[in-house]
């Protein structure tokens, strides 16, 4: 049985189901309770679970991230919502130095089962401070898992897995995806998508396109257009950034011999850089063309509509990169 849900509803259902299942799961963040969420992801949770488990915080990211981590040390399972991941920079010390490293520094004694979640990446016309992708920032650090779903089914299944995971998980959503509907969400409360597994969302033979979050939609659109032009693209939804499903990517490249990495973040030391290096290390001899990356321009995101459009990756950029990789430009 499948049902239709928006990504927002899928995330909401995941939290409702996991909070129902486990008393130690709670949600904290700015406007999550009485306001029902700045982006309405936590709609109705306060009514269902009460103010002990759905907690409005002051605007104090560094402090409440630390409170979440400390409570996880004592066995609770917090979901800490950042109104946007841009604000997580206020809290990044607690995420990296406390949540990610304590298990190691304690010789395995003190785990930190916590989820940091919220919208990531560029919204629309909100300028440089509110528009960036944190995938490569957090994926850099051992001790964290980093997840970034695209569609409703994986948003729900991955968030449920993240809440059950005994490790700290950075869960990167996308504001522009919250309202999008998908009709293929399994209708059961045990729909779990494993962390660390990518999905081949379109099979192809000529080129591999990797993408995550909203960029998966762009990649799928590009693949459709390319098919009309006689190029068969395989599209991989990474779903998890760390641990990256290297095997799925490598296997695909061994088949297609070409790779185009798509992300909304910046080029330097980005996810594309990492994928390129992995392929060089593990599938170098299979490459028939240089790896390509499609990503944001290496600038803070501008406000003006025309400049913003220039700064962000689009379907056409993917099509052009694929054609270059296939020597059909």
């Amino acid at each position: 049985m499948m049902k239709t849900l928006t990504v927002r509803e899928a995330l909401n259902e995941a939290m409702v189901e996991e909070m129902t299942r486990d008393e130690s799961v709670f949600l904290m963040g700015e406007e999550v309770a009485e306001y029902n969420g700045a982006y309405k992801v936590s709609q109705g949770l306060l009514d269902k679970f009460g103010n002990k488990r759905v907690i409005d915080t002051p605007i104090t990211e560094h402090g409440f991230a630390g409170v979440g981590v400390g409570s996880a040390f004592l066995g609770l399972k917090p979901i800490v919502e950042f109104m946007t991941f841009n604000f997580s920079m206020q809290a990044i010390d607690q995420i990296i130095n406390s949540a990610a490293k304590t298990l190691y520094m304690s010789g395995g004694q003190l785990g930190c089962p916590i989820v940091f979640r919220g919208p990531n990446g560029a919204a629309s016309r909100v300028g440089a401070q509110h528009s960036q992708c944190f995938a490569s920032w957090y994926a850099h650090c051992p001790g964290l898992k980093v997840v970034s779903p695209y569609d409703a089914a994986s948003a729900k299944g991955l968030l449920k897995s993240a809440i059950r995971d005994p490790n700290p998980v950075v869960f990167l959503e996308h504001e522009l995806m919250y309202g999008q509907s998908f009709d293929d969400v399994p209708d059961n409360t045990e729909h779990l998508v494993p962390i660390g597994k990518a999905a081949i969302v379109r099979e192809g033979t000529d080129v591999t396109i990797t993408a995550f979050s909203m960029m998966v939609g762009y990649a799928m659109k590009a693949a459709e257009i390319l098919a009309e032009q006689g190029i068969s693209a395989e599209v991989i939804d990474l779903r998890t950034i760390r641990p990256l499903d290297t095997q799925t990517i490598i296997n695909s490249v061994k088949k297609t011999n070409r790779i185009v990495s798509v992300e909304e973040g910046w080029p330097f030391a980005g996810i594309g850089s990492e994928i390129c290096m992995l392929i060089c290390e593990q599938a170098f001899d299979y490459l028939d063309a240089e790896p390509k990356r499609v990503c944001a321009k290496d600038v803070p995101l501008p406000y003006a509509a025309n400049l913003e459009k220039l700064a962000l990756p689009h379907t056409n950029d993917i099509i052009n990169a694929v054609k270059t990789a296939c020597y059909k430009a």
């Binding site: 002990k52 915080t57 104090t60 402090g63 979440g68 004694q109 995971d165 490790n167």
Partner: protein, 327 residues
């Protein structure tokens, strides 16, 4: 005044405090030696001079209470009844250390003894401690978190974010500002707009008290009050005036203060000597008893050091363990 207080502390408690404070001091002295010999690496921050603070508070706690502090943490672990062997072996980077040799001086933990670190980032432990208190309240386990910070940490922004939330949510927590007069090399007068740290708690509606941290009895009584208040009414901030005899860390020659300043405290206000004097006045221990205790602690330390020196280093495969919990 002192006489009145004495009657409220049991004789047994006084002796226990004296023994533990002495153990802490001897432990820290040995750390200094081992550091000098190159057996302890990195940063190493000694607690000598501040022993009454942690013992006064620890003895006023209940078994379900949790403790968290920053990097000057060896004493807090001994106070929590963690094994000196495991602490010292961690300091020498051995597999039998509390963190299997992967944490070091500033990063040690014992879930079993309810000691939650040992944190190297100044002030981070204050938010984390507030989270422990949040969990006590959530689980209704009647526990209180005692979260220590130095006078230097007391200037970090997240401390005030934490005080605000603790007060807003009425969390069971005792914040302890261990004011040893120096944030590394910067005196309180040079780093705090107002050196009365109770005012910072007052501003957020916490119950506050200023305590003489060189006086075990005073801090023990303040601890009893603070723990009871936190358990039944709401958060507390204690401003504890204390003094560290050594530099900020082993690499600090402490040129920012005079030898006379340090000697004045050592001679006239030493927290361990003060407890010893009380015990002598009350005739709880004889000269022989003191001698026997010294010998006992010396033996513990010899054994501790031997253990820490001879324990094996972690095996190489440990490099890759404990990064993630296997789901």
């Amino acid at each position: 005044m002192v006489q009145k207080k004495n009657t409220e502390v049991s004789n047994q408690l006084l002796i226990e405090a004296y023994e533990k404070m002495l153990l802490i001091r001897r432990f820290e002295e040995r750390c200094g030696q081992l550091y000098g010999m190159g057996l302890i690496g990195g940063f190493c921050h000694l607690y000598i001079g501040q022993e009454a603070v942690v013992m006064g508070l620890q003895l006023s706690q209940q078994p379900q209470d949790t403790v968290i502090t920053s990097y000057r943490d060896h004493a807090h672990m001994i106070a929590c009844n963690m094994d000196p062997r495991g602490i010292m072996a961690e300091l020498t980077g051995r597999a039998s250390g509390y963190s299997k040799g992967k944490g070091g001086s500033m990063h040690m933990f014992s879930k079993e003894k309810k000691f939650f670190g040992g944190h190297g980032i100044v002030g981070a432990q204050v938010s984390l401690g507030t989270g422990l208190a949040f969990a006590h309240q959530y689980k209704k386990d009647n526990g209180v978190c005692v979260a220590y910070m130095g006078d230097g940490a007391a200037n970090q922004g997240q401390v005030y974010e934490s005080l605000n939330m603790a007060s807003l949510w009425n969390l069971p927590i005792v914040y302890v500002v261990e004011d040893n007069e120096y944030a590394m090399g910067t005196s309180t007068k040079r780093h705090a707009a107002d050196t009365d740290f109770t005012k910072r708690g007052d501003a957020y509606g916490l119950a506050t008290k200023k305590v003489n941290g060189m006086d075990f009895v005073e801090i023990y009584e303040a601890g009893l009050w603070a723990l009871e208040h936190a358990r039944t009414k709401g958060p507390v901030l204690l401003h504890v005036k204390t003094y560290r005899y050594r530099g900020h860390s082993m690499s600090d020659p402490a040129n920012y203060r005079s030898k006379d300043e340090v000697n004045e405290i050592k001679i006239n206000n030493d927290p361990i000597q003060r407890v010893k004097t009380l015990i002598e006045e009350k005739k709880l221990m004889s000269a022989e008893d003191f001698k026997a205790l010294d010998a006992k602690i010396k033996d513990i330390m010899l054994d501790t050091v031997e253990f820490a020196k001879t324990s094996p280093e972690p095996e190489e495969h440990e490099l890759y363990t404990d990064i993630l919990v296997e789901a």
